[in-house]
């Protein structure tokens, strides 16, 4: 073909650089997909097949037995009720913790960015400092405090812990978002006679959808994946899924039921996974907005 006159859309050419980029992306994708692949196929195999050692192969006789066992009858120590107990525990911890920590963070951020409370900067600084101190430092003092107040080892206790430790991040997130809203909006609402709460609920909160979504994602994944707080504060009755998963995987006697371990692990990862898939776009957008405004 003769050389075309440049017009319209520029033709895409496959350059060496572009091939390199694709090669890298594909390799990276494979690298991160491989463990997931192994987990999925292993969980669908019966033990005899696993013993053969072809860990990458598709299951010859596919079975959901391992999944069913992991959910409802795998043993965590002495009890053999599967990981479902932990799942519902996690849900019961998750819902109040997420809601309360977001509400607290939103109100904090709102008060800090709009109301110029006395000592607001000092308070914000202290909160931020709190975000940088390793959690482990707080564990023992908190255990003592909760023991003294009598709520140690309860649902209230673990929810409270999640709300407290979520506060710095949530406050920072909402404060930065609200700092990006025009202050004149707030002034107009003040002149219109809005008070602290009416401005928050009628003007500010309706504008907060994007950041509420981001906060929900952060808190759901963070709290769902928590291990150490659950282990320390929730008490035997309320151990979250992550702790029970650990018990299942580590308490096996005799032969290791790899397929059950894999299935249980994936069940435990399900909630954050769904959250990422459903809201990945929002997640990136929110983080980007936070980063730019930060």
């Amino acid at each position: 073909m003769s050389t075309a006159v440049p017009q319209g859309r520029r033709p895409h050419r496959l350059t060496a650089g572009r091939i390199g980029v694709y090669a890298f992306l594909v390799t990276a994708a494979l690298f991160f997909m491989l463990p997931l692949w192994i987990m999925v196929v292993t969980s669908l195999k019966p033990m005899e097949e696993i013993r053969l050692g072809n860990i990458l192969a598709l299951p010859a006789a596919m079975t959901f037995e391992a999944w069913i066992k992991a959910w409802s009858s795998a043993c965590t120590g002495l009890e053999c009720n599967g990981i479902s107990v932990g799942f519902w525990n996690s849900v019961r911890i998750l819902i109040p913790s997420v809601i309360l920590s977001i509400i607290a963070g939103a109100i904090n951020g709102y008060a800090l960015s709009f109301w110029r409370v006395k000592g607001a900067n000092v308070m914000f600084g202290v909160l931020l400092l709190g975000a940088f101190i390793p959690y482990q430092v707080f564990l023992y003092p908190l255990v003592r405090i909760f023991s003294l107040t009598g709520i140690y080892n309860s649902l209230t206790c673990i929810v409270l812990v999640h709300v407290i430790f979520g506060l710095p991040t949530m406050t920072l997130l909402f404060r930065n978002y609200y700092a990006g809203l025009p202050i004149e909006l707030f002034k107009a609402a003040r002149i219109d006679g809005g008070g602290f709460w009416s401005i928050f609920f009628r003007v500010i909160l309706p504008m907060s959808t994007p950041i509420l979504v981001v906060a929900t994602i952060l808190q759901v994944t963070g709290i769902w994946n928590d291990f150490i707080f659950g282990l320390t504060f929730a008490g035997r009755e309320n151990l979250p899924m992550t702790v029970q998963l650990n018990n299942i995987v580590n308490s096996t006697q005799g032969e290791r039921a790899y397929n059950v371990d894999m299935a249980a692990t994936m069940l435990a990862a399900l909630v954050p996974l769904v959250v990422y898939f459903v809201s990945g776009r929002w997640f990136v957008r929110g983080i980007a907005a936070g980063a730019v405004k930060g």
Binding site: P182, L185, K187, A188, A189, R190, D192, P206
Partner: protein, 359 residues
């Protein structure tokens, strides 16, 4: 009786202190424009009047009541902002009724007031739209409507037209003026850095610079008798011409002298006693200079010609400095052409070179 009275007010931000005991009295029904460059404290003053900023010292009085410690909503004011500040998740009707709802006004009364304001501003067809479905001009109309329904005695405007394009700005400017006339006894305090807005709208202009009031006066006074060099230079476009020189006592009275140019000041209304030999700056508006063969100042050459339609601005230079002359729109000149300028001594302003104050 003055509706708004700012008495010895000082505002303190964390690090900086703004205003050093600023006072201002605004009469009932007056249209006051606060004019000044960015950062001179116009918004701060307006926010202090509105109660959105606490004053560190002094008092604010509105309608004969000391409101220094009152909440914004209790001050009998309404405010319009540069960024419109419409509540984004409410439609126009909800935006306009928000304040009344907060004040627990009965529903029929709210509807009546919103309808009235909407009609006055010709936004009735927009009542069910959301702010993001409106153009800039429509948004600002809605913002004015929202202020209107409050039935406030005092309206505060903070650069309400600065975000609009030139054409809309002119339209809305006229409408605000009409609105003020229609509302009758409503006092308006209007902040702008645009001297055209100030000149066209104001009953009185307050010119500010660096958080100090430079001059308070009618547009005429501000334009024709500026109190100092800053006011003279800030108001008027093209800018007033400034010519450095000194005063000299000649046979027939005091004269202005710049090099070998001379201008008799026998008719000039001095407000302070001048002294011979004093260094001064002569201020002449471009329209008070004339290119005329019978002029008194020869030896200028045409530098640049700027046709502006209604008039033509001709820059003339004499090697020492250059001046702008405003002539008829039909007037043409060729750069390089030699011209003689005429100056009308009755229209000039004289400033002390040292202090910049009017003489």
């Amino acid at each position: 009786m003055s509706t708004v009275s700012v008495r010895d007010v000082t505002v303190a931000f964390e690090a900086v202190q703004v205003f050093d005991g600023l006072s201002l009295d605004i009469e009932e029904g007056e249209f006051i424009v606060l004019l000044g460059p960015s950062g001179c404290g116009k918004s701060t003053l307006l926010n202090a009047i509105a109660g959105l900023l606490d004053v560190a010292e002094g008092q604010i009085w509105i309608n004969g009541k000391n409101v220094t410690w009152e909440e914004p909503k209790d001050r009998g004011i309404a405010m319009v902002f540069q960024s419109y500040a419409l509540y984004p998740r409410m439609n126009v009707r909800e935006n306009m009724s928000f304040g009344l709802k907060m004040a627990k006004t009965p529903k029929p009364e709210i509807e009546k007031r919103v309808a009235k304001a909407a009609e006055l501003l010709q936004i009735t067809p927009l009542l069910d739209r959301r702010p993001d479905q409106l153009s800039g001009g429509q948004r600002q109309r809605v913002a004015i409507g929202r202020a209107l329904v409050r039935d406030a005695a005092v309206f505060l405007f903070d650069e309400p037209l600065s975000n609009l394009d030139a054409k809309l700005r002119n339209e809305l400017r006229v409408e605000i003026k009409r609105l003020h006339a229609r509302l009758g006894k409503t006092t308006m305090v209007y902040v702008t850095h645009d001297q055209i807005e100030a000149m066209t709208l104001a009953d009185r202009i307050v010119v500010m610079k660096e958080q100090k009031i430079q001059q308070i006066g009618t547009p005429d006074e501000i334009y024709h008798r500026p109190a100092n060099l800053f006011v003279a230079g800030f108001v008027g476009s093209p800018q007033m011409n400034f010519i450095k020189g000194r005063l000299e006592n000649t046979g027939e009275g005091l004269s202005f002298l710049a090099g070998d140019r001379r201008l008799s000041l026998s008719g000039y209304p001095f407000i302070t006693a001048p002294s011979s030999g004093q260094d001064v700056v002569l201020g002449v508006r471009p329209e008070h200079l004339e290119i005329s063969s019978t002029g008194i100042w020869p030896g200028f050459t045409v530098d640049i010609v700027e046709p502006m339609g209604a008039d033509t601005v001709i820059w003339c230079s004499d090697g020492v400095g250059s001046v702008q002359v405003r002539t008829a729109g039909s007037r043409r000149a060729t750069p390089g052409e030699s011209v003689t300028l005429h100056i009308d001594p009755a229209q000039v302003s004289l400033f002390a070179a040292e202090s910049g104050e009017r003489l």
